[in-house]
């Protein structure tokens, strides 16, 4: 009985279909307000709240479109991809792919990648803390064994490639951005690395890396051995500065640990 009440009520609030809305009204004592009006209050609260969550996680998408567009899209989204957790920080992961298929966003082909960047930022912000790399421990490994090492990336590390200049789009849409808002639409692939800053441990950093560097880190993230990750990078750019990039990745806190296969 209780389960049926909850099922009908939830479907009614979300207006999952026309008959669902009517069925919900039958559960409710009307009184001085109609059952339909009472359901509408819950519908408004639910949609406003979830839309607000998306606005908080995706402020750049909101700045690119406008409030009415965002509101409309988010209502469609809530019904197509319902929240599946009581923790709202988990809500919105499907928003980028939803935007990719949202007809009214067809004129904004970069919107999905911008949203993916914002979701990556959100995930990086809440990711686990981790100790920084122990260089002294690495010094105990003979150089000839380095190629067989596997490296671990910081839990906040996220990687995105796009055909659009999404970092520039992200930057000019920040509230504190000053200066020329022109975006140059070059067509080369943009490879982005998102992670938390090693200094304060909490700020999220987004930076461009070379395609070779991206391939290198991507391979490390899949637990490839150092020599295989290097091969992937050299396959893209024969002049890839392996040592320099590796050092920078350690110093910036992206690479945090290593393991070696036991012979």
């Amino acid at each position: 009985m209780l389960r049926e009440t909850q099922r009908v009520f939830a479907a009614s609030v979300l207006e999952l279909d026309a008959s669902a809305a009517i069925a919900g009204a039958g559960l409710i004592r009307a009184g001085k307000l109609s059952a339909v009006r009472r359901l509408a209050i819950y519908r408004f609260n639910v949609l406003t709240n979830l839309c607000g969550v998306l606005k908080d996680i995706f402020p750049v998408v909101l700045a690119i479109v406008d409030d009415a567009f965002f509101q409309h899209a988010s209502e469609k989204f809530v019904r197509a991809h319902p929240s599946c957790s009581g923790d709202l920080n988990e809500f919105g992961g499907a928003w980028p792919s939803f935007l990719a298929g949202y007809p009214h966003a067809a004129a904004l082909p970069y919107l999905r990648d911008v949203a993916a960047l914002e979701w990556a930022w959100h995930e990086a912000f809440h990711a686990a803390d981790a100790p920084s790399f122990d260089l002294q421990r690495l010094a105990t490994v003979p150089p000839e064994e380095h190629g067989a090492l596997q490296f671990a990336l910081h839990p906040s590390t996220r990687m995105i490639q796009s055909r659009y200049p999404i970092l520039r789009i992200w930057e000019v849409n920040q509230p504190d951005f000053e200066g020329d808002i022109e975006v140059v639409w070059d067509v080369s692939t943009e490879s982005l690395l998102i992670h938390r800053d090693i200094g304060d441990g909490v700020s999220v950093v987004i930076k461009r890396v070379s395609e070779a560097g991206y391939a290198f880190l991507w391979a490390l993230a899949q637990r490839a051995h150092l020599e295989d990750a290097a091969t992937a990078a050299f396959g893209i750019d024969a002049a890839f500065d392996l040592q320099g990039f590796l050092l920078e990745s350690v110093q910036s806190g992206v690479i945090i640990d290593f393991t070696r296969d036991q012979p």
Binding site: G26, R29, K32, R37, Y42, C84, F125, A127
Partner: protein
């Protein structure tokens, strides 16, 4: 515990929200505790937990859940419970509370505090769920009465009896939201004093005060304004009936500057002080 609660009951606490983090660290205002929404600290690490552990050094923390869905007929989420326990173990809150409501069903969450039909079936269900949570956390929780904009046709038990019975049968304390009682009294046409006077002495562990919005034909619980006079009067009545209790000012939307929030807390402090005088030191 008794003496800790007495200290907490001398001054009001405030809801801790990100726009005030900096101002609170700078001013270190005299509030007896800070209350957070538990789920905002369910992440694995990063800034939210860093701030919370920093605040924990100077203030008792109360964790207040909005997403556990105590009243849902879906099984309790093991992942949600584990994250709650992780937070409780880390922060060691003075109070751990949830809402007497459901927030989703069939794996689909509306993430709103949805009312229950007040029936014998619902009561048995909620009692079992509160017990499950208390067993899992290995500590008692508080359960808060929610605002509602409808009553279910099949409800057979007055809300105040339902709340009272949940506490009696589980040993949980009631987080009495006096604003929610006022909102529901107006929306559902009952006497708020009847509600307060039906709640058993000794069963309330905390009081919430907040603001609502008058939509003309119904009151909506927004936590977006100052506490209204009628709610302050109910609060006084509650203090006279239950004695001084940890009291929280909640302000979650249209969040004002910290001094405005602290002014509200100061009003509660005055009522707590005069109630203590009235009761003498017997309490």
């Amino acid at each position: 515990m008794a003496s800790e609660t007495a200290v907490l009951s001398r001054l009001a606490g405030i809801g801790l929200r990100p726009p005030h983090y900096r101002a609170i660290l700078d001013a270190m205002p005299k509030v007896s505790f800070l209350e957070v929404h538990s789920e905002n600290f369910f992440g694995d690490g990063g800034q939210p937990l860093k701030y919370l552990t920093r605040f924990r050094e100077d203030y008792p923390i109360s964790t207040h859940g909005v997403g556990l869905s105590l009243g849902s007929t879906d099984p309790l989420s093991p992942a949600h419970l584990k994250k709650l326990k992780r937070l409780v173990d880390l922060i060691e809150p003075i109070l751990v509370s949830e809402h007497l409501c459901w927030v989703g069903v069939n794996g689909r969450f509306l993430n709103d505090l949805l009312p229950l039909p007040y029936t014998a079936e619902s009561l048995d269900h909620v009692v079992a769920r509160v017990n499950e949570v208390q067993d899992f956390l290995k500590r008692p929780i508080l359960v808060e009465n929610v605002s509602s904009y409808l009553e279910f046709a099949d409800s057979t038990i007055p809300e105040w009896e339902f709340v009272r019975e949940v506490a009696r049968r589980t040993g949980c304390k009631i987080l009495l939201d006096v604003n929610n009682i006022h909102v529901n009294a107006v929306n559902h046409d009952f006497d708020a004093l009847t509600y307060l006077d039906s709640i058993a002495l000794g069963s309330v562990g905390e009081i919430h005060l907040g603001g609502f919005q008058d939509a003309g034909d119904i009151l909506i619980d927004t936590h977006g304004t100052a506490v209204c006079d009628a709610v302050w009067k109910l609060y006084q009545h509650a203090l006279q009936r239950f004695g001084n209790l940890p009291t929280l000012i909640e302000w979650d939307t249209d969040i004002p500057t910290l001094p405005v929030l602290l002014d509200e807390a100061q009003k509660a402090n005055q009522l707590l002080a005069s109630n203590e005088l009235r009761c003498g030191h017997a309490a």
